[in-house]
């Protein structure tokens, strides 16, 4: 009996809650929705016990508004929702992008559109996570493929939000959120924690949107004596609305520049059996699990197939594909949608390899055997 072993049975959503706590999240506001509810349920219990705050809001609009406010107040913040709630959050998500507020939105994707299939897996929100809010803006979207990664990526999401003063979306599908697996998590003391850069000049010299060399402006917490203006209007370095074309340009371009500088750090990609691969499967989320199982079978039967596993969806890690394009004949993109990352793969491929999609929108997974069959058909 090894009840005290470091291994435990843990659910994906539970791992997200543990990751949030380990990363130092101390404020959660949300509205429960399947299949993300366990994140709120666990944090409702654990956050207050650890000195944090948990608020159940009236809806998802209020939820994101509350975490924006708490983040400006100096908290590390997170909310969890699913497609219908994520739709309601889009307006304030745009506000957080422009005002450069660090926060994490966990969106556990379920079948859509609308109320859709509340308990069934889907990957239909990939493009919504990129372009759901209006206006030109960069966004960071991470997508875990195992329970252990649900923990690691939540920590990473909080850290990236803090470092880049940008909203980060943790995009999970229902399978990863609800499956339970044997995991061993590091103690919270071993987890890397990144805190936003605070101003060190006197308050009267502080310019809240004056970017440092990293491209990110130090962020004062309300209540710390730094008085400044936060707005959804395009603003100058002081945070006040401006119509000056140069200042408007600096504001919007600055949003992009900070993410471009961090591109390599933000992009998480894993490669499996790619060295001699002539064919690749590009997968993310639960499709990685199907693809890994398929890969094992395909390699056993002598097919030179590899897996490019996307941990970051946005910004799209184009280098992951580009470096292998010269050796690849075909690429298969299995997705639980009608082909959203497929379009990105097509764009980066620019006609070099044959790209095929494998899609499913019936609320069930694509099985390893289906991938094996499709890849073998492509090879032939």
């Amino acid at each position: 009996m090894s009840r005290k072993s470091s291994y435990q049975l843990m659910q994906g959503n539970e791992a997200v809650a543990e990751g949030a706590l380990a990363a130092g999240v101390n404020f959660f506001a949300g509205y429960p929705i399947t299949p993300s509810t366990e994140v709120a349920e666990i944090l409702a219990d654990r956050l207050p016990a650890n000195g944090g705050k948990f608020i159940q809001m009236e809806d998802e609009i209020g939820s994101i508004a509350a975490i924006i406010g708490a983040s400006i107040g100096g908290c590390k913040t997170l909310t969890a929702t699913s497609g219908p709630g994520f739709s309601l959050m889009q307006e304030n998500l745009g506000f957080a992008c422009l005002a450069e507020i660090p926060l994490v939105i966990v969106n556990v994707m379920r079948g859509g559109p609308s109320t859709g299939m509340p308990t069934s897996p889907s990957q239909g929100d990939v493009m919504q996570s990129r372009w759901g809010t209006h206006g030109d803006h960069p966004i960071i979207v991470l997508t875990p493929a195992t329970v252990e990664e649900a923990f690691q990526y939540t920590v990473k999401a909080v850290n990236l939000a803090e470092k880049y003063r940008n909203p980060v979306i943790l995009l999970m599908d229902e399978v990863i959120a609800h499956m339970r697996a044997r995991v061993s998590l590091p103690p919270a003391s071993m987890v890397e924690k990144v805190n936003r850069v605070q101003p060190n000049m006197p308050p009267e010299w502080y310019l809240p949107y004056e970017r440092s060399a990293t491209g990110v402006a130090p962020m004062a917490s309300f209540g710390d004596g730094y008085r400044y203006h936060v707005t959804g209007l395009v603003h100058d370095a002081k945070g006040y609305p401006t119509a000056n074309p140069n200042e408007c340009r600096d504001n919007i371009r600055g949003l992009f520049t900070k993410i471009e500088r961090g591109f390599r750090e933000i992009c998480m990609v894993d490669y499996e059996c790619m060295d001699d691969a002539e064919h690749a499967i590009v997968a993310y989320g639960s499709m990685v699990l199907s693809a890994r199982s398929a890969l094992e079978q395909l390699r056993e039967s002598g097919c030179k197939v590899g897996l490019i596993k996307l941990g970051t969806l946005w910004p799209f890690p184009r280098f992951a594909l580009e470096q292998y394009l010269p050796q690849l004949k075909t690429i298969l993109v299995p997705e639980l949608n009608m082909g959203q990352i497929y379009r990105e793969v097509l764009r980066v491929n620019a006609g070099k390899a044959v790209i095929e999609k494998l899609n499913r929108v019936n609320g069930t997974l694509i099985t390893p055997n289906e991938i094996v069959k499709t890849v073998k058909g492509l090879i032939r």
């Binding site: 009996m1 509340p118 499956m179 044997r182």
Partner: protein
Amino acid sequence: MSQTTTEIRLAGSGGQGLITAGIILAEAAIFDNKNVVQSQSYGPEARGGASRAEIIIADGPIFFPKATWVDIFLAMSQKACDQYSFDIKNEGIFIVDTTYVKQIPTSSAVAIPISSATREKFGKELFSNIVALGVICEVCKVVSAKALKAAISNRVPAGTEKINLEAFAFGQKLAKEALKNHNGAENEAIEADT
């Protein structure tokens, strides 16, 4: 998929506690030092819809989290039995709760009135899922009784450990009797044939 992999599916209707049973079974596998993945599928209803839990136990890594070629199948409703028994291995173990499954698709099924026996013994069907775990443990030996008991104590609401462990033992007893009859019936058939 390596030979040491066991795929288990527990199917019934929402409210019967089969997802809880699946979680307990998965945790027991960890206590037995095995690798495990548990997944579930259910409808938006709190009670009554089709519900199933799947557990994959292996010595090595497990990638795909859903059962595709089932070794052990428990059906606790007719609908679940009809809907989810298409991918059971020929040599797989088929357990049915005859309280709710009246049309059994195979004569090799281990047929036990799990829910009605539970009601008779404990006055309610609430413990049927734990009784079912006792049955599975006895019939399949896929995880140890010791690990299952530890997982039950760990996962049931505080204060109900004792009665749940009784339910587990009751399930083991039901299975033992059923297996005796099951094997007996097979022997009879052979005798009749000669």
